[in-house]
């Protein structure tokens, strides 16, 4: 299994302002599986992504990514885990404005401390080809549509060959048709690359491609099928 969440609680704020964003949450996602977490705004979807992605330490519980317990690691070690084991697909794609589509992918090679070689460029172009963006490889984000940016975001997430893909509301800025296409693309890629994928969304119509669906409300995972 590539992601294991065991009895994770996340409390935010202090004193009277303290809220329980995640309440004793447990879940597993296997390699090649697309698990969708559905819930309304404020239910804890993004908090779940934050703890699974090492962006926020849980108050209690244990998170394991590709066999490595990440819930008690230092910030520096978590940076390395995110770089080596986890791929993110963000809401609104979140691309670096100054980089072209191909450079968004090559940035991950730089973050590992080495200059991209011809093989890295070839891999980047192959991934862009998988998401149908070969012709737009030299375009910057401001020259791409919302759907195109999201496709580049998916290709970037796969560039470092992650064990876990965390996907945050990938269709929130897209119309339904394009949204469906993106989720289908994600499902295909995670299956093809055998990556465990956890996708949070508030859109029920996007669940058809998911192999597992969980519901989250008030920080609790209340249903799993």
């Amino acid at each position: 299994m590539s992601l294991s969440v065991q009895s994770v609680t996340l409390e935010l704020g202090d004193g009277d302002q303290k809220i329980r964003a995640l309440d004793n949450v447990s879940a597993t996602v296997l390699s090649g599986e697309l698990a969708a977490v559905l819930g309304p705004s404020g239910a804890g979807k993004s908090s779940l992504l934050a703890v699974c992605g090492g962006l926020r330490p849980p108050t209690s519980g244990e998170i394991t990514v590709a066999g490595q317990v990440i819930s008690s690691l230092s910030p520096a070690a978590l940076t390395k885990v995110r770089r080596d084991l986890i791929g993110f697909v963000f809401q609104q794609s979140n691309l670096v404005p100054a980089l072209t589509a191909l450079e968004q992918l090559l940035l991950l090679v730089h973050l590992k401390g080495r200059r991209p070689k011809a093989a890295d460029r070839e891999r980047g172009m192959a991934l862009l080809d998988e998401v149908g963006m070969t012709q737009r490889a030299d375009r910057r984000p401001d020259q791409l549509s919302g759907g195109e940016r999201q496709r580049v975001g998916i290709a970037r997430a796969l560039m470092s060959e992650p064990k876990l893909l965390l996907v945050d509301e990938p269709t929130s800025m897209l119309d339904q048709e394009r949204g469906h296409a993106i989720v289908e693309l994600l499902a295909e890629r995670c299956h093809q690359h055998q990556v465990a994928t956890l996708m949070v969304t508030h859109d029920q119509t996007m669940l058809a491609s998911a192999s597992t669906v969980m519901h989250i409300r008030d920080g609790k995972l209340i249903q799993e099928r």
Partner: protein
Amino acid sequence: MFIAFRDLKFAKGRFLLMALVVALVAFLTTLLSGLAAGLIKNNISGLVELDVTHLAFEYNNKPSYRNSMIDREMWEGWRNADGVLAAEPLGHTMFNARMIDNSSLDDVVLWGIEPGSFLEPVASQGEALGRVENGVIISKLLVDRGLKIGDTFILDRVLTELTVVGIVDEFNIGHVPIVYTPIRKWQEATYGPPGGPPPGEKLPDILFDYATLVALKLESGLAVTEIENTDIDFGTLTIDKAAAYEASSGYKEELATVNMIQSFLIIISAVVIGAFFTVWTIQRTREIGLVKALGGSNTYLLRDALGQAVILMLLATLFGTGGALWLGQRFIESGNPFVLDPQTVFSSSSFLVIAGLLGSAISVRLITRIDPIIALGTER
């Protein structure tokens, strides 16, 4: 530097604007450095060119070219003191001078020196002192005012006539051109009656026993106490050559003013650069959070941001300094006091780059405080 280079290209408008500000500051700093060096040269070049290590003034609270007066016993005493390689009297008096046709030459400083001594400058044109009656060597500044070799001019008030026999570079003191004259002529002009002695009479010998100060060549490493003891013996106050510059009128004030302007420019530059990179970092908060979420370390991001600052500072400083050098050259050609030496240019540019990098380093520290969680949309 992967993102830094592409940011420079992507946001070239903003970076060009900032580079322009840095270039203008570099331009002003270098120009001021050149002018400061020029002013210093113009003020104390005569002193700089003196082949001495120390000057001994008449004992007073502070050394003064105008108020000092020493006698023969003093300079001869110094000549025979331990650790003294050479000692010569030097006379210093300011006069207003005019040409024979009464056109003004403005102020000149008459320096009385022993012809052939180590105090006599080597004339770049003409000949040495002592061969022509009333012959003097003049600073090039007086050539710019219309004098040439063979011309005779008059010292106002004392009506002493002097003839130009040699010309040296722009040797001045207190921005006033120096006229080098044999010390006896200086003593006549300074202490004698206007127009010289009455016909058939000669000036009393006692007039020739006085000068302004003793110019000294001391052995290197001579103990300060040794110098102080000789000072006590002869009633003098000895200062080294560098300290003697400050005794030149206006030197300290000019230097302080120019240094203050330069310091302010460098501080302003550091603050402006710091402010720019602070705003730039704040604008990039989301992007930096994203790169951190993707696995970018603080070290990687700081190196990238500082690299960007280094490129900006170096290129802009190079451009601004180049402009100042070009204008400085025009200044020199038009006879203005401006000195372009590599040390002046390098030190002013280096200070600017260092100050700018300090400013940017303080601001890009913000990077370390950015939480990668903002990549998830809002700060939760």
